[in-house]
Subunit: 388 residues, 2 copies
């Protein structure tokens, strides 16, 4: 049998590994805080749609760019926050934010081009860059930004730019740190991107989970950034229906059509009925989305006030990143937690530098269960690494 | 604004172009024979599933390899024809046959590796090879095979093998010619693949549309071929629900897990509700599938007996390839047909050598409409190219 190509999928590997550890732990109901999810009810469920409702039947293939009504609904959703109308023609319906990022990276990268990945980062980000033929250069910023004054953010990113750099990828609110970039940070990125003629690839997966009074800051609303920004959005986290696998990509003006040409080679078009379900979910009242955001913020407050492990300060998202460097090995901490029925995601999956860390998702279980899990986490931390 | 990478998507381009021509034709109800589809009723429709039915809710993300019940159902479906049980662990649920091919190519190719694409071929095949970092080498065989005795099939494929060749891709029954490979041809391919240590990538999209008494011949059933064969299957054509976008990949023993690691970078996992709908569709009685196959064969017989344009002999699939070389330019023929409200797919989309051809899908409209369209096609052919 011929040999396989080199494979890389940190994500499924670590999820499966922590799950295996939890199964072996003997706990009938382990607390799976290693997976990024919420316990909220899904905003829409599959149903039989009327043929006439969207101009295409659920069994028929939708246009490669998406069902027109859904493109228009997504466009309307981002128009307000961008302070100007985004035409539906700039929006592509995608198989989740992952597929949106895949399309954008495919379109802008030639083989060997570099992408600055602001780190720590969502585990799939580097894999997606590689799958698109690019080279991911991790630029550590989120811990430094969260660490207080004195960090030269723009200088750190600028120092990583080379002649092969084509784009900057970032996720805000950030998975795994919970750091969210404000308008001032975003403006610094835009200025740098304009000076070096780079694309901006904004992963806006957690745009509905911003805990600040300012609310989610969209980089495409900064100056002329929209003309170089690809914004990836997902409906899975926002509407608590990750199984529906629908998201969207907002492209710079005039670029949606050539980018859509990559859809067939990256997993598109999106199942038609899944697009209808996303359309329904988009009718979720603003108040309900705000209520969920507030519940996530309350879950964060509970975690923050009870965790005895040093951790990042979340101003958005679903996660905090636990600093286990004083304790010892982050991997061993994850293993010890799994033995006590608590799932955490090992830090090394979020970047090469983060082996001494672990990610906790504070919305992945009901508050009482999260609190129980944190008690066990504190106990393990207090025992120290030598007890292992 | 930075420039975009080089884009390539023959498929969406030509579909859109023929559609635009048809809109301009003034015909209120043009006959769209350029798209590959059937007029059959979908075998399943979306509905609300019970939470307990599959062990995962429709809103929840399914395992990256697919919903277990669906993997088992797909495995059972191919087990019979392979003459031995295929364990569900070898089967991955994919976003249609396209995603199945994308996964297989990703797994077996390193940058610059070559794939022999038996041609003419499904338009996306070369794009998928390129998207996986490979080089597609078209090997013209289907017209030659259909042309009668004297063609050295194995010799033609062998002559294209180089030190960089890693795999052979083929689609049988073939889109666009309707040629289907029998066990003898498949055995020749297997012998060659074994001698040069190549992977076999079988695109079995039309496995339920084989018009011969022998029935669909699965290359994985030939000798030890299963250990080097990736079989891509779709449910879109088989169950008349292309909008559902579900298919599957049968991997060589032991390889499904590493191949599944590519899923997140190629469009997976598949929406959970779409997997449920595919599971329902799989319960379609064998008699109903045979009835549809017989209706497609009848549509082919009607087309074959009325077409006055030279065309390939379909022993399966949904298409015949029209030979317009004596008439003149194939592109111009497609344009003339669109002016009279008939959509055909230009031949050059099926390979670099086929500019003088055009593809007709004989199942894309009800028989009466196909017959009307063929009358117009015959008229244009009779007028000759100079009338343009």
């Amino acid at each position: 049998m011929p040999s396989l190509g080199e494979l890389s999928s940190p994500y499924s590997e670590f999820d499966d590994r922590v799950d295996a550890l939890l199964r072996g732990s003997g706990y009938a109901e382990p607390v799976r805080l290693h997976r990024g999810r919420t316990v909220f009810e899904p905003c829409a469920r599959p149903r039989g749609w009327e043929e006439a409702e969207f101009g295409v039947g659920a069994h028929e293939e939708a246009p490669v760019a998406g069902v027109p009504a859904l493109r228009a609904a997504f466009a309307e959703r981002v128009s307000g926050r961008r302070g100007g109308a985004v035409p539906p023609e700039q929006v592509l319906v995608t198989g989740g934010a992952t597929h949106a990022l895949s399309l954008a990276l495919r379109a802008v990268l030639q083989a060997g081009d570099e992408v600055l990945v602001l780190s720590p980062q969502w585990p799939h980000a580097t894999g997606l860059v590689r799958a698109a033929g690019g080279v991911a250069r991790e630029v550590p910023v989120f811990l430094e930004l969260g660490g207080g004054f004195g960090f030269d953010f723009a200088g750190a990113v600028e120092a990583a730019v080379t002649s092969r750099t084509r784009a900057v990828y970032f996720n805000s609110p950030n998975n795994p740190t919970g750091y969210r970039m404000d308008r001032r940070r975003l403006a610094a990125l835009v200025e740098l991107a304009e000076r070096h003629d780079l694309w901006l690839i904004a992963d806006n997966t957690y745009d509905e989970y911003d805990f600040t009074r300012e609310g989610f800051a969209d980089i495409a609303a900064v100056g002329a950034a929209a003309e170089r920004t690809f914004s990836a959005h997902g409906c899975g986290t926002t509407y608590a229906m990750p199984g529906n696998r629908v998201g969207y990509l907002v492209c710079p003006p005039g670029l949606a059509a050539p980018v859509a040409a990559w859809a067939p080679y990256t997993g598109g078009p999106v199942p038609t009925a899944a697009q209808f379900a996303a359309y329904e979910a988009l009718r979720t009242p603003r108040e309900e989305l705000n209520r969920r955001r507030d519940r996530a913020a309350a879950a964060w407050w509970l975690a923050d006030s009870t965790l005895e492990v040093p951790h990042t300060d979340a101003s958005g998202g679903l996660y905090t990143f636990l600093d286990l460097r004083a304790w010892g090995d982050g991997e061993r901490f994850v293993r010890r937690c799994a033995e006590l029925g608590v799932g955490l995601a090992p830090g090394r999956n979020f970047g090469a530098r983060y082996g001494g860390w672990a990610r906790l998702c504070f919305t992945a279980a009901p508050p009482r269960r999260v609190a129980e899990a944190i008690e066990r986490i504190n106990k393990i931390y207090g025992e120290g690494a030598d007890e292992d």
